[in-house]
Subunit: 251 residues, 2 copies
């Protein structure tokens, strides 16, 4: 019987700029085993804070466009400026919602810029500049500290088109196959499974979210049972989950 | 420590029209306990088969529109006709992909009509006509058979805008809160969590998918650890996960 177990990791301290996140995770584990068969799923906020991917609102001078968008959407012009700075494309600006394609290529509200769980009320937390590189770095450091190289996934909560609510998705990944391609493989009856191409890393991010409560200070979740998706190499990362703009029907 | 465990249920026999799916699940459990704290996640195909939500291609006469769309997209006109019959709106028809809003309101490829895992090569499997009602019915029958009323979730694999790969989402639900609304609640630092509204049922569907292999004949997955989302009442179902068309920025 296949089984997957996701466990929130308690005891991680508040994370600040410059912190060694991998060391904090190992510390929070106490003596508990970390194995190469684990996936370590990390909510991106603590990665962003450790990397100092934050902006002080007081340092931001909004452009005319940011002021206009802010007025139309009931937002702080400085926040809008930071969102625009983090975007390569603004897809929608309606009803107070800015849907952006980020510098990395992710499509999400406010380019992932967030005031909740920020170090202070005048601070915005950005997405990590290169979340796949962050995942590889944390994985390498975990290997250094423990001798084990679990997969590392960095997630954020994104809204979706057509469906209510948010779902955690993978924005950074190392040591896990992001997609499990069943296209062209036969199903149990020998028929071709034409459209089956599982976003395994996004499913893992969603699983992790269920094992943490938003107010629990448990940004790290350990998942066991995903060995069939794990790889010794860091692999293509979460960037492989981005559909190319010219292949997307909703850009 | 919060933890969530998803286990594929082996031993479910091939499901046919008229089968009592709840009884088959109880049978596959053997003596194993089913509790009111479980979520029973079921891939919709076995629900559709039990409900005979299938179409024989030989019985379909394609309309002129179906023939035109089929020619433009390299598809069988009879399959396109069935897809149109299951749709209230065709959002995109490009590069062989038909993105539809189904009669239920779900936005997905081919209106959820699928030839893989069908009873025979000339048969298409549809989504259940009313997946929330199916979930409620299966839950009631499980309660009848075991005295326990676990939550029941029915899932399908949907593609997403902007991201590669598919993810299982909830299309039917009973006994679980589909959304966990944190909007306006405070985060751990006392700041407002403005945009946090977790699609808990979709996260559970994605978790279940990781505990099954597509070719494993394990359409049923038991999830433990979601008690905080489970409810005695059947609740609003997966219909609550649909964003109203006039509130959607991508319809």
């Amino acid at each position: 019987m296949a089984s997957v177990l996701a466990r929130g990791l308690p005891g991680l301290p508040e994370v600040s700029a410059g912190d060694d996140l991998a060391a904090l995770i190992v510390g929070a584990l106490g003596g508990a085993e970390l194995s190469g068969g684990h996936l370590v799923a990390i909510a991106h906020k603590v990665v962003s804070k450790a990397e100092d991917a934050v902006v002080q609102l007081a340092t931001v001078t909004p452009s005319r466009r940011a002021c206009e968008l802010a007025a139309e959407n009931g937002k702080d012009p400085r926040v809008v400026q930071v969102v625009l700075d983090q975007s390569q494309q603004l897809l929608r600006a309606e009803r107070g919602v800015l849907i952006c394609r980020t510098l990395h290529g992710f499509v999400c509200a406010n380019a992932g810029v967030d005031a909740s769980n920020a170090p202070s009320p005048d601070t915005l937390v950005l997405l990590p500049a290169d979340p796949d590189a962050s995942a590889r770095r944390i994985r390498a450091r975990l290997r250094e500290l423990t001798g084990q190289a679990p997969a590392v996934l960095i997630s954020d909560s994104f809204g979706r088109a057509w469906r209510q609510g948010q779902l955690d998705v993978a924005i950074g990944l190392a040591g896990m196959q992001p997609l499990d391609d069943w296209r062209g493989r036969a199903d149990a009856a020998g028929l071709e499974l034409r459209a089956t191409w599982l976003a395994a890393a996004d499913a893992a991010a969603a699983s992790a979210e269920l094992a943490r409560a938003k107010d629990s200070r448990e940004p790290v979740v350990l998942i066991d049972g995903l060995q069939r998706y794990l790889t010794a190499a860091d692999g293509p990362g979460a960037a492989a989950l981005l559909r190319a703009p010219d292949e997307d029907l909703f850009l």
